[in-house]
């Protein structure tokens, strides 16, 4: 019998094509917005998580000034100091590397006229292990031919960004002075292609980054500037078999006990943060899309009221030939539910199409690859939800139809 009711409802919808389609458009716009927002949101979250997990792996974490991430991020403590040897002594830590940023007075070689270029530049201290042990954080770095990375025994050597090497007139093998102390240039970074998608890893090195920065071994900065006050970030790799969150907790506790104000951030921390952020954004956007769904629902309700009025006589006939109130009620509910469902189906297709286009644009314009997430559960929930939306919008009109007194309905002209 339910199947027949579906047929009756479908006939009625098809009979009023124009109005039905207009009503369905009202639903479909809302569903399109919801589906597009959700699938883009899920895709973005997945993309970010994938990238973060690629960088962190399962065996690394980052130590950063407290507050550098999350709300108010970037305004970390200035008194962040870490003794890497102490960090390495913590149980479970296999390798630790740090980046420290100072501004130093740098002087290049005299040119043909005997002029030298000098000035204040960003001088970064890199642990030698950084490039060898944590490539995923640093990204792809490429040195000009003949150059080399830092080794454990390096002291007064420097690697320059390509642009600054040119400006300082300091090619590979030449000498520059930092705070009056001579350094040998052992490497020059190759500048990446501008339009190449960023492969910079988390630190934003590689490719074009670091063009006007002078890099020296981490420990040398201690000789030049004393104990570290502004360590940007410290990377830690744990020994095999250790639990990354446990080690991170131990490191955080140990270092903070010594007065450092730091936090250890693992993959799961970042992933949680991304998840929280994305779900807040998604909830906000879904709320906006929800308003358009509400409008669509009111459209369905309006159409159903009109339909009940128009078909008053038909309702009377159905009741005269044996339809119970509940039968009439169900037929009208199915009718409004089906309008919701069709709107939902069309909206799902358009929404997925829209998010696909959005991901294409993002990848073309910004070089961000977002996988559109079109999970079966998203589709099923959307379709069920849109049927429910229609049916709920039809509750009141259907009730009115079912309560029409048969004699009055038959008399209706």
């Amino acid at each position: 019998m339910l199947r027949d009711f579906f047929l009756l409802a479908a006939r009625s919808i098809a009979h009023r094509k124009m109005r039905s389609w207009l009503t369905i458009i009202g639903v479909f716009i809302g569903i399109t917005a919801v589906v597009a927002l959700i699938s883009i949101g899920l895709g973005l979250e997945k993309t970010i998580n994938d990238q973060v997990s690629e960088v962190f792996g399962v065996d690394s974490f980052v130590i950063s000034p407290e507050g550098a991430f999350g709300p108010g991020g970037g305004h970390g403590s200035d008194t962040f100091a870490i003794d890497l040897d102490e960090l390495r002594a913590i149980d479970g830590v296999k390798e630790a590397a740090a980046i420290r940023d100072e501004t130093g007075f740098v002087e290049g070689l005299p040119d043909a006229e005997g002029e030298t270029v000098k000035g204040f530049l960003s001088v970064m201290g890199l642990s030698p292990e950084l490039l060898t042990e944590f490539p995923s954080f640093v990204g792809e770095v490429e040195l000009e031919e003949g150059g080399r990375e830092f080794t454990d025994t390096d002291e007064h050597v420097a690697i320059l960004g390509s642009e600054i090497a040119e400006r300082l007139n300091a090619p590979l093998g030449s000498m520059i002075e930092i705070e009056g102390i001579p350094f040998e240039v052992v490497g020059v970074f190759v500048t990446g292609e501008e339009d190449e998608p960023e492969q910079g890893g988390m630190m934003g090195f590689g490719a074009s980054a670091g063009d006007d920065t002078v890099f020296v071994p981490y420990d040398v900065l201690f000789d030049l500037y004393g104990p570290a006050e502004t360590v940007l970030v410290t990377l830690v790799r744990i020994t095999e078999g250790a639990d990354v969150d446990d080690v991170a907790d131990r490191a955080e506790t140990a270092l903070n006990e010594q007065g450092a104000e730091i936090m250890a951030i693992t993959y799961s921390d970042v992933s949680d943060m991304v998840g929280t952020m994305m779900s807040t954004i998604s909830a906000f956007l879904a709320g906006i899309a929800g308003i358009s769904l509400l409008v669509g629902g009111v459209g369905v309700m309006n159409t159903m009221f009109t339909s009940v009025l128009e078909r008053t006589k038909e309702i009377g006939v159905m009741k005269a030939v044996g339809a119970k109130n509940s039968h009439v009620w169900i037929i009208f509910l199915i009718e409004s539910g089906m309008m919701g469902l069709v709107g939902g189906a069309v909206g799902t297709l358009f929404g997925l199409g829209l998010s696909w286009i959005a991901s294409m644009l993002l990848s073309r314009v910004f070089g961000i690859d977002i996988a559109v997430v079109a999970s079966a559960s998203l589709i099923v929930i959307t379709l069920a939800g849109s049927f429910a939306l229609g049916a709920i919008a039809g509750l009141w009109p259907a009730r009115r139809a079912s309560k029409l007194p048969v004699v009055d309905a038959l008399r209706y002209e």
Partner: protein, 228 residues
């Protein structure tokens, strides 16, 4: 026992602030198998009587019995069952569902009685063949002539094998030829199938097929006669 028995039936309803007394103590018995014509001027209570005979409405006062059962004591859903199974309606304006084919229109009463799909289809086709529309089963009402539509309506009235056919001005919207053929059909249903037919009409020709005429005036039976 008469099939239908009305005793001192009154029906009042409110129209705005005034109370309309549509039936004022009406008595009527209808025997199984007879064709009863109900005539009377507009406002005489014909339609109201029709509604009560068809279990579409219940009287305000008096008794209305179908095979001895007082329908005034039935719940709304019991009334639906009574009219769905025991009464078939033929209306002046046909009242077919425009979006459905002739066959589906005939199947409709059976859907509500939960008759299986297969039984329904064969019954509907047989009924349409019986009323001479075997070649029109897939046509929609707007593709049929007035006479054909009323034949579909008669077929629909027969769908659940009711004992009673209530025809409210069945020839009112038809030309005389189509009207005559519908009347012939109704008469045949009475003679060969033993259906009880109650025919509300203005049309003297329609009244001719009746075994007996009940004339109403001011909500009561004014006169009964054997023929028009």
């Amino acid at each position: 026992m008469p099939l239908l028995e009305l005793q001192d039936v009154t029906k009042e309803y409110k129209l705005g602030k005034t109370t309309v007394r549509a039936l004022r103590g009406l008595d009527l018995n209808v025997e199984r198998g007879e064709i009863v014509g109900i005539m009377g001027p507009s406002g005489s209570g014909k339609s109201t009587l029709m509604h009560i005979l068809g279990a579409l409405d219940v009287p305000t006062g008096g008794l209305a019995k179908l095979e001895g059962t007082d329908v005034t004591s039935l719940s709304e859903s019991q009334l639906v069952t009574v009219r769905g199974r025991r009464i078939g309606f033929v209306f002046q304006t046909f009242n077919l569902i425009q979006t459905l084919s002739a066959q589906m229109n005939v199947e409709l009463p059976m859907i509500f009685q939960k008759v299986s799909r297969k039984d329904r289809a064969s019954k509907a086709i047989a009924l349409l063949e019986r009323v001479g529309l075997g070649d029109r089963i897939h046509h929609r009402p707007n593709e049929l002539s007035g006479g054909e539509r009323q034949r579909v309506a008669v077929a629909r009235a027969l769908a659940n094998d009711p004992e009673i056919i209530l025809a409210d001005e069945p020839t009112g919207n038809l030309d005389s030829e189509s009207g005559a053929s519908i009347l012939g059909l109704l008469k045949e249903l009475s003679k060969t199938d033993g259906k009880t037919i109650i025919l509300v009409t203005h049309d003297p020709e329609a009244a001719e097929i009746a075994d007996r005429i009940v004339r109403l005036k001011d909500g009561a039976v004014r006169k009964e006669s054997a023929h028009a």
